[in-house]
């Protein structure tokens, strides 16, 4: 038989264990109170009996058996909790308020015993009340018994323990009920979390946990779960987008290549051409495809990397100088005025190869989009914040403010640049490199419209202090 779900839940099980622990502790405490009180009551009774006994034996010693007898008669007639019995040498009762000695099988000396007295309670019912007493053989051979009825004390202890047990039972019931309530509530909250996770597991990333802003752990967990799902959904979307984009960007050149090869094959079979030109073209296109593919892979890896691969601390000024030198002839070839302003001593911590690639991409873009006769400026400097900034400013057509954040995404090529070669991965790679290094990419206006050039664009790669 399976227990109802609530009994199998963690909060309820915790409640149960806690209650069991509580019950154990309460029982131990009760037993302790009971036995301590009992020992205390017995000790008190014993002391009282001893006092009576001492007084009586003193009377006997000093004034004889008759005086003792008289004293006993006096004491029993006054009443009180004490029991007395004086017996002769044969053990026959003589004076006292009990009919016979409750101590059976007296062996001599001072013999203490606990026993029960038969009597009637206030309602006339037979009650066996607890008592204790001592029997002693006097010097004349008579036997003296002194005892005390401790029934009231025992009754009190009994009532006390009943009250304590009752209280414990009540606490237990309340605990059980509270546990059920709490576990039902927690179960509800966890159930809602579970439902969201289950949905996500089966592929539906849309559901979110309702966050109540109570600030408790469950609420916090719900918030974190939501944030995680947001991130997951975002990266899924970007993967989907990248997948679509790759499909789009690779499909058309692949289709073109296939068609060209097919035609070439037909023509070569007919002996009209030798097909070499088609093969050469196909090779060129394959190279382009590989470049696109490698760039996509690099970006994906950079985005997936948790830390800078193979980091080193180096002077970025050298890197910038190298890149300026590398691109200088290409700029001159295109009749561009390419200049650089590089501050000395720009120590940064990063991956040299990726930063070189990023800087190369920035210069590359500027050279590609600036029309002949324009100007491109490479700057590397410290910002007042201490960050290291590489910026490339050109006098090309620029990018509209609304499109600026978009060009950092993968495969985004603005419509008017579709005619240019490239897969639209250059700036995304710069962005990925910047993010990996804890930096950012800033896109701003260039120098504005001058002599028919511009407004231009300024793209900056900003890296944190080494």
């Amino acid at each position: 038989m399976r227990l109802p779900s609530v009994f199998r839940r963690t909060p309820f099980r915790l409640t149960l264990s806690f209650l069991a622990l509580f019950a154990l502790a309460a029982s131990a405490l009760l037993l302790y109170i009971y036995f301590a009180s009992r020992a205390e009551a017995e000790g008190r009774a014993q002391a009282g009996i001893q006092r009576e006994l001492d007084a009586l034996t003193a009377i006997y010693r000093e004034r004889g058996a008759d005086a003792l007898n008289a004293e006993l008669i006096d004491r029993t007639s006054k009443g009180g909790p004490y029991l007395f019995l004086l017996m002769d040498r044969q053990g026959q009762p003589q004076t006292g308020n009990v009919n016979e000695s409750p101590i059976v099988g007296y062996q001599g000396g001072e013999q203490w015993e606990s026993f029960r007295l038969s009597g009637a309670d206030a309602q006339g019912r037979v009650a066996r009340r607890a008592a204790m007493g001592v029997q002693l053989q006097l010097s004349g051979g008579e036997l003296l018994f002194v005892g005390e009825d401790i029934g009231d004390t025992e009754q009190y202890l009994y009532r006390l323990s009943m009250v304590l047990w009752g209280a414990a039972g009540l606490v237990f019931l309340l605990g059980l009920g509270g546990g059920l309530l709490v576990s039902r509530q927690v179960e509800g909250a966890l159930g809602r979390l579970n439902a969201v996770v289950d949905a996500a597991r089966s592929g539906d990333l849309k559901p979110r946990v309702a966050v109540l802003n109570t600030g408790d752990e469950l609420d916090e967990l719900g918030g974190n779960l939501n944030a995680m799902l947001d991130r997951l959904e975002q990266s899924m979307a970007s993967i989907r987008h990248a997948g679509d984009a790759i499909a789009h960007d690779l499909r058309s050149p692949l289709t073109r290549m296939r068609a060209r090869l097919e035609v070439a094959l037909i023509e070569a079979e007919a002996g009209r051409v030798d097909g070499r030109e088609a093969l050469a073209l196909a090779l060129d296109e394959t190279d382009d495809l590989l470049k696109t593919f490698n760039a996509v892979l690099s970006i994906a890896r950079l985005q997936a990397a948790s830390d800078i691969p193979d980091p080193e601390v180096f002077d970025a000024a050298e890197l910038a100088t190298d890149m300026a030198e590398l691109y200088d002839p290409a700029a001159e070839d295109k009749s561009l005025d390419f200049q650089s302003e590089i501050e000395r001593g720009l120590d940064i911590r990063g991956n040299r190869a990726f930063l070189a690639q990023a800087l190369a991409n920035l210069i590359d873009n500027a050279l590609k989009y600036t029309p002949a006769g324009g100007a491109v400026m490479l700057r590397a400097r410290h910002r007042s914040s201490g960050e290291v900034e590489f910026s490339v400013t050109d006098t090309g057509p620029g990018i509209a403010v609304d499109d600026r954040s978009r060009v950092l995404e993968r495969f985004v090529r603005l419509d008017d640049s579709r005619s240019e070669s490239g897969a639209g991965l250059g700036l995304s790679l710069v962005q990925a490199v910047a993010e990996l290094h804890g930096g950012r990419v800033d896109i701003d206006d260039g120098p504005g419209v001058i002599d028919g050039y511009g407004p231009g664009l300024r793209v900056a790669l900003v890296l944190p202090v080494a």
Binding site: A280, L283, D284, D287, L290, K291, F293, N294, A295, L297, S298, R301, P309, D310, D322, E325, L326, Y327, P329, A330, E332, D333, N351, R352, A353, F354, A356, Q357, A360, N361, D364, L367, K368, G422, G426
Partner: protein, 223 residues
Amino acid sequence: MRILIVEDDKEASAVMARGLSEAGHDCLTAPDGAYGLEAANQGGFDVLVVDRMMPRLDGVGMVETLRRQGDQTPVLFLSALGEVEDRVTGLKAGADDYLVKPYAFPELIARIEALARRRETGSVQTVLKVGDLEMNLISREVSRAGQDIDLQPREFQLLEFLMRNAGQSVTRTMLLEKVWEYHFDPQTNVIDVHISRLRSKIDKGFDRPMLRTERGAGYRLEP
């Protein structure tokens, strides 16, 4: 030249062997690092082309063992792992060069030939000569047919690399790696422009151009 190809992808290895044979080289293939080690131990290879990820013994393990045994045959690593740290691990293991898959075939041939060549010219040279082109590495003077040529420092390095690999193809990536010491893919024709400047200095005014462009491969300095 004798080349050992250690690659677990049979098709890739067969295509490579065929291409290298076409280029006039003698090839032997091994399907994994363990066989590769055995074959390499027989000796007589000029260059080893080793894939990184293979069953039994991987490329790194194989080359490390080889180097421990004192075998200094040049090794070209082939790998689908292109990240910088992968390259560094490969070179640390004792490989001499590293080529990331997928690669263009001319790039492979150019690199293999450059490795073998490097081995041949192990002795320290102070003067490089290719045809009537002469380069003095000490005085840093260059002349062709006795006519002095004035080169920028980078042009000098570029020409030095081309002369050391004279008669063989060198690719743009190789030039960027060996002359500029950067490992990345330039989007535009930056290297081409440097080459054409160098060409204008060494070939201008001469009937026979030495610095040739090879379609799909790169450049070749012909004596």
